[in-house]
Homo-oligomer: 218 residues x 2
DNA sequence: TTATATTTTTAGATTAATCTAAAAATAATT
DNA sequence: AATTATTTTTAGATTAATCTAAAAATATAA
């Protein structure tokens, strides 16, 4: 079954908005994430249901079928592999690759993407720490915890982000909070929930907002 | 000015169908090359003329404006650089890359394509021997002659093809008639216009059809 | 549990790209 | 020069994706 550029963005969006397999995603949530209107979403949901990519019950939201999930993961695989290519081979920064990958993920060729995977030596994660599904759609979700949930004196390695906006990524870069960097929690300020952490012998302060969006492997 | 996938294919087609800058391209020729109907072409020509990519006079065919030519060359540059990438880095064969490049050429990012150009070390020609315009749209047209126009005992290097179909390219590959290979014309058979040429100490026969589509640098 | 607020769907339009069939213009032949 | 053939354009529809405004369903609160 062929899928259009637009249908693929919907499938990916539904996947990302699904907290877990069973629970349904709302029309409005999809509309917001794709910058469209709810009416447009309803139209598309009917179409995706016809094509058996989603289970759709009027007014009850949607879940992906196994077929839809497979397709969503295939697009996510492509997105993340292209991001690795852009950063590793073409010297893009991690805050510059998202929009380009958003286009490249729609190139239709499994052979191309499998060759790219091989060329990149089968990376397990993308430049933002997100896992890359293999050609069968399999991947393991690393157990990452936001800094905001860590106790004082805990150490860990920065391994992912919850927020992918260029502004946030650029800030992290500037502050040295890059993937692979070891950090240690020193203190949480009760007043505003900000944290003092140590990084490379220095103590720095990060806001609660940042702490919630920076993920650590312990 | 933004251009859609479709508009870009039209511009490229008009460019390829233009024998030289001045002479106009017919509606029917465009329709045939894009596998659409003449009526659809007329609609699109009006649109491209509005956007000032082409000079269009009803019933008189079209020529590209400088702006249209620039855009067409930009797309051709992308097409050919992606082809080089696919062959050089991802181990595709020269007969496998066209359709993929046909999609990839529409990724909108000059930064991406300039970085790719650099990554590939600024190739001058694509896997089929066609010249790659630089970032300013400049390129030099190599002087290539089809085998069918060569005299006996002439030697030369295979440097391009006039026909890009996978069938033809696969045949050339199998026969050893690849880019860079030196050949020598031995004899032309008057009866059917076929040629006997020598390649790596062996004499082989190629049809007139093949001879017309294989380009040589002397 | 009735009234109010929110969410979702339908109705009806719009825009881009395409098509078929018919009309108009141009080119080729008697 | 008149007729015929070919090419090109217009007229009118269709399909995908989108929108606004209004109606319907569901959720929340008095
Ligand atoms: Mn996308
Ligand atoms: Mn990513
Ligand atoms: Mn194309
Ligand atoms: Mn080529």
């Amino acid at each position: 079954m062929i899928t259009s550029f637009t249908e693929e963005n919907y499938l990916k969006s539904i996947y990302h908005l699904s907290p877990d397999e069973g629970t349904a995603v709302n029309t409005n949530a999809i509309a917001e994430s794709l910058n469209t209107k709810a009416a447009s979403v309803t139209d598309m949901l009917k179409k995706l249901a016809d094509k058996e990519f989603i289970n759709y019950i009027k007014y009850q939201g949607v879940t992906l079928t196994p077929l839809g999930r497979e397709r969503a993961l295939n697009i996510i695989r492509k997105h993340r592999l292209w991001e690795v290519f852009l950063v590793e081979k073409l010297n893009f920064k991690w805050d510059e690759v998202h929009d380009l990958a958003e286009e490249l993920e729609h190139i239709h060729s499994d052979l191309l993407i499998n060759r790219l995977d091989e060329f990149l030596e089968f990376p397990k994660t993308d430049p933002h720490g997100d896992p890359i599904p293999d050609k069968h759609g399999k991947f393991n979700v690393p157990e990452l915890i936001p800094i905001s949930k860590l106790k004082n004196e805990t150490s860990g390695i920065i391994s992912g982000v919850r927020e992918h906006s260029p502004l946030f990524l650029k800030y992290l870069e500037k502050t040295g909070l890059v993937l692979g960097q070891e950090i240690k929690i020193k203190e949480q300020i009760e007043f505003d929930g900000s944290f003092i952490i140590s990084i490379k012998e220095n103590d720095i302060m990060i806001s609660r907002e940042v702490a919630k969006n920076l993920l650590i492997a312990i």
